[in-house]
């Protein structure tokens, strides 16, 4: 590909592009000899987990960073030589949309129109077109800072489109917005490429978005590990994906058995079944795979894009994820005090900030040993609910019982029974792995022999030995996640709170993480988890779906999806179910 002749059809050509960052004596190769091309008139997806080098590559293409090696041709222009010439013809939306939050929608549009040299006469019609497309027509006077995440994203897009660029770079436009807004954004992007012939390079860490792209550039740890039509990625895996179910065998035990089995490269829980991907196309026999499970049924299912990503990763380099649980995690120190079967009981919980209800009359209960999910987009009220459950924020109304203790009166006693892993892991970045373990064990008041034993357990269980003296800040995300979980489990809690635990972690590390969480649940630990990854809902025994501070639905993932099953949609996803619920709630409010 490096020797490819000049082809006018490519909007973007990358030739062995390399970019190195130096941080505190460490050398990080963010983009490692990436070569590839983006065809005109279509959406190309730049896909990979956080830290794969997507944003760096985008910035290199936009002329915001200089490469350490290689050549980048944007619309035939060498962007290193003539960044201004290239920038005049491209559009670029950075991750946080580049909006001025104290300017109104109209003022943001005006600013970008002036900066892009759109003649005054041409502005009116263009604004109308953009406002119509983004549905922001009613909000032109509103400050950008007061728009919802989805609306900000659409305004950011409109601002980059005031002068139609030939090539549009969108850096993770769908991160942190709800599934409904995500779908609307994709509708706009499809419209731009189909009707206006625009070329779009869109980066994302959501693997399911790959299927909406014409072509996909797959990145992992700075390197391009695949570039092809998404259908062709999946085609290579035809006949290798199956659902496994057994009536008298819990899905978690089934998953446990299957994920270690030879010939299986991937096993995930999906509703009541376990989804597996095999190494070869030969259909596995239930008798060979699960000889002691008499009623195991194996059904072939169509492959997903994620399967091919996992297959590529597993056959290639190992990711810095979590090691498979070597020994069953230690059982909780003592059974939950009082409270019977239900260890978390939330009744009519409300939290107001001024006149705003962040959490509005929420009720649910969680049984011992259950994995319970709080699912919702950013701003749905998940984190606020969580903070109240941890006793970090007093509720405005309602009652909360955790491990048999009323949080209104005995928050400290309840906290002693709870392990908490916060968003972004909240480790002490300047401390080493071992120092973090020591600090958290003393914060939980472990002493003497028990403290020594628990630290040794954490190091062994999470395979932290090789990195024990490394500074936490410099660890790969997968290791940080392991360390954070180890710290949260230091005092052998019988309830574990996980706030967006897999955000940004690559799919392999995510699988290994869930594997461990499953083992904990099997051992009787109750787990409450928030996530905005719809597919992670599949791991939960039961879940609630939240939007605007309220619960839209409660149930297990199968029953939530079941409501939507129809002839047109024989196999709805969790996201379909979520979008349907949000739309129904919107219609109800409008009525």
């Amino acid at each position: 590909m490096a020797a490819a002749p000049e082809e006018p059809s490519a909007a973007l050509r990358l030739d062995r592009v390399t970019r190195v960052f130096r941080a505190g004596g460490r050398r990080v190769v963010a983009v490692d000899e990436v070569s590839g091309r983006v065809e005109r008139g279509a959406v190309t997806g730049l896909i990979g987990p956080d830290g794969a080098g997507k944003t760096t590559l985008m910035r290199l293409c936009a002329g915001l960073l200089l490469p350490d090696g290689g050549r980048i041709a944007v619309l035939g222009i060498d962007v290193t030589q003539a960044p201004a010439a290239a920038q005049a013809r491209i559009g670029y939306m950075p991750q946080r949309f580049g909006l001025y939050e104290d300017l109104s929608v109209q003022e943001n549009l005006d600013l970008y129109a002036e900066l892009q040299g759109v003649p005054a006469a041409a502005r009116g019609p263009r604004y109308d077109q953009l406002l119509h497309m983004t549905g922001l027509g009613r909000f032109t006077g509103r400050l950008a800072g007061r728009l919802s995440g989805g609306m900000k994203q659409k305004l950011g897009l409109a601002c980059t489109l005031v002068r139609a660029p030939e090539l549009l770079f969108l850096d993770e436009p769908t991160v942190g917005v709800d599934p409904v807004s995500r779908r609307e954004l994709w509708a706009i992007v499809d419209h731009l490429t189909r009707s206006e012939g625009m070329t779009v390079l869109l980066s994302t860490s959501y693997l399911d978005e790959a299927e909406r792209c014409r072509a996909v550039l797959l990145m992992h740890e700075g390197r391009l590990i695949g570039a092809d039509d998404p259908a062709r990625f999946t085609a290579g895996l035809a006949g290798r994906s199956f659902h496994v179910a057994a009536r008298d065998f819990s899905k978690r035990r089934l998953h446990e058995r299957l994920s270690g089995a030879t010939g299986i490269i991937d096993a995930t829980i999906q509703g009541a079944q376990v989804r597996i991907v095999t190494e070869t196309a030969a259909p596995p026999s239930a008798a060979a795979l699960l000889p002691d499970v008499p009623d195991a049924r194996i059904v072939a299912v169509p492959p997903r894009f994620e399967d091919s990503f996992i297959a590529l990763l597993k056959t290639g380099r190992r990711a810095g994820g979590m090691p498979p649980a070597a020994s069953p995690p230690s059982a909780p120190a003592a059974p939950a005090a009082g409270g019977g079967d239900e260890v978390i009981v939330v009744r009519d919980l409300t939290r107001r900030f001024g006149s705003f209800r962040a959490v509005d009359n929420v009720s649910f209960s969680v049984r011992k040993g259950e994995i319970f999910g709080l699912l919702g987009a950013n701003g749905a009220g998940k984190s606020t609910t969580f903070r109240m459950l941890c006793g970090l924020l007093p509720p405005s109304d309602g009652s909360l019982r955790v491990a048999g203790f009323d949080l209104g009166h005995a928050a400290a006693a309840a906290r002693g029974r709870v392990g908490y892993m916060a968003q972004k892991f909240s480790l002490y970045g300047d401390l080493s792995v071992m120092q973090n373990l020591r600090f958290f064990s003393s914060a939980y008041r472990l002493k003497g022999e028990r403290r020594r034993r628990r630290i040794a357990w954490a190091v062994e269980e999470f395979a932290l030995g090789p990195v024990s003296s490394a500074t936490s800040r410099d660890l790969p995300l997968g290791y940080k996640q392991r360390l954070a979980l180890a710290c949260a489990l230091m005092h052998e809690p019988d309830i574990l709170f996980l706030d967006e635990p897999t955000s940004g972690v690559d799919p392999l590390a995510r699988r290994e993480f869930w594997h461990r969480i499953n083992a904990l649940a099997e051992a009787g630990v109750t787990i409450l988890v928030t996530t905005h990854f719809m597919e992670e809902a599949e791991y939960c025994d039961r879940l609630v779906i939240m939007a605007d501070g309220r619960i839209l639905a409660t149930g297990d993932s199968e029953s939530l999806k079941e409501r939507l099953r129809s002839k047109e949609r024989p196999d709805p996803t969790m996201e379909d179910a979520f979008v349907a619920l949000i739309e129904a709630a919107g219609a109800e409010r409008a009525a």
Binding site: L65, P83, R96
Partner: protein, 373 residues
């Protein structure tokens, strides 16, 4: 060219809208100056007024009473009699009095003989500055009293002759009159460097600068659009401070407005250049604020001659003061306010400011790139 003006107009409009909508910029430009002026104008004073002084008279007689009476009538002292020096020292240790004036046994005899002053003065030296001032006041009071006594008795003035002091340019020797012009330099340093560094860091933080860089706007337009609004804001803050100083605090103004405006503009350019330089290093508001305070405001406060006299600093420190822009501006302001347009002071200092402004702005312009690294 027309495109460039259009882009600049867009950026300027954005900047002004942001200033109008974000109360923090207005606060730094106008409320902070008012606040600092109030503190320094009313609260802080380097003058000694009504200093509590313990007076110990070993042998009370007419002459001793005459001297203590003189002390009591002075606006600077508030004498408190003590019977013994021991008691007075206890009060000094307890910070009840700041100094002790001790008229010993032989006070009258030695005062009349015209020899060495028979006065014992003990000053609490914790605050060396105040201690020296009080010491001087007591000496002055003593000299005045001696003269008055001699004149009353028709005798020639005693030797040594009391020094006749005349204070020029600040006849009232009011520290407020010389602190407030200096303070204006501090305020301009804050609005210039701190505000500029903060607003650019904010654009880094929110990712808006990244978006701007990929538009057709040039780096010159982006910098200019930051300089102009904050230049105007700084000059506005300056004007408000001067008006406050002259009207509320009765600071005399002997120079011309033209000189004040011109030199302020040059100083503000240097401060803004410093702010731009900081913003090229610091990409979040916290770090930008820290760097701006440490590299501009603190040196301006300590090393500009605003409070501490540069002439009495050690040579090495004195050398450092030459790179503190505020130093030149404080000299100009104090001259313009208290003495008038003294060109011998204004010209060299204004030249130094112009050189610094050119260097800071030049480096800022040359180091700025439409790139993230």
């Amino acid at each position: 060219m027309r495109d460039s003006l259009g882009r600049l107009r867009g950026l300027l409009r954005k900047e002004f809208l942001q200033i109008l909508r974000d109360p923090s910029a207005i606060a730094v430009a106008f409320l902070l100056p008012a606040f600092l002026l109030l503190i320094f104008g009313f609260g802080v004073s380097l003058d000694a007024h009504d200093v509590p002084v313990g007076v110990v008279v070993d042998r009370p007689d007419a002459l001793a009473a005459s001297f203590t009476g003189k002390l009591a009538n002075s606006p600077y002292f508030q004498p408190r009699p003590f019977a013994t020096i021991g008691e007075a020292e206890k009060a000094l240790a307890a910070h009840e009095v700041t100094a002790i004036v001790w008229l010993r046994e032989d006070f009258t005899r030695r005062a009349l003989s015209g020899g060495e002053a028979p006065l014992g003065v003990i000053v609490n030296g914790t605050d060396a500055n105040s201690a020296r001032i009080i010491e001087g006041y007591v000496q002055q009071a003593w000299a005045n009293w001696l003269q008055a006594e001699a004149a009353e008795r028709g005798a020639p003035p005693p030797t040594p002759v009391a020094v006749q002091q005349t204070v020029r340019f600040n006849p009232a020797v009011s520290s407020r009159d010389y602190l407030i012009p200096g303070l204006i330099a501090m305020i301009m340093t804050l609005t210039g460097a701190l505000l500029t560094a903060l607003v650019i860091a904010r654009e880094w933080e929110r990712g808006t600068l990244e978006a701007l860089m990929v538009t057709r706007a040039t780096i010159r337009e982006i910098l200019l659009a930051k300089l102009l609004p904050y230049f105007l804001l700084g000059m506005g803050g300056m004007a408000a401070s001067v008006i406050l100083a002259v009207t509320v605090f009765d600071v005399p103004f002997h120079g011309s407005l033209a000189v004040l405006t011109a030199t302020s503009a040059v100083f503000l350019l240097a401060a803004l250049g410093m702010g731009l330089l900081i913003s090229s290093v610091a990409r979040n508001q916290f770090v930008a604020g820290q760097i701006a305070i440490i590299t501009t405001f603190l040196p301006a406060f300590i090393l500009s001659g605003f409070i501490f006299d540069i002439g009495s600093m050690p040579a090495a420190v004195r050398l450092i003061t030459h790179v503190v822009a505020a130093r030149y501006f404080v000299a100009i302001l104090q001259t313009v306010f208290l003495a008038g347009d003294v060109w011998a002071v204004i010209l060299p200092n204004a030249l130094a400011l112009a050189v610094m402004a050119a260097i800071f702005l030049g480096i800022a312009r040359l180091s700025a790139r439409k790139r993230l690294d």
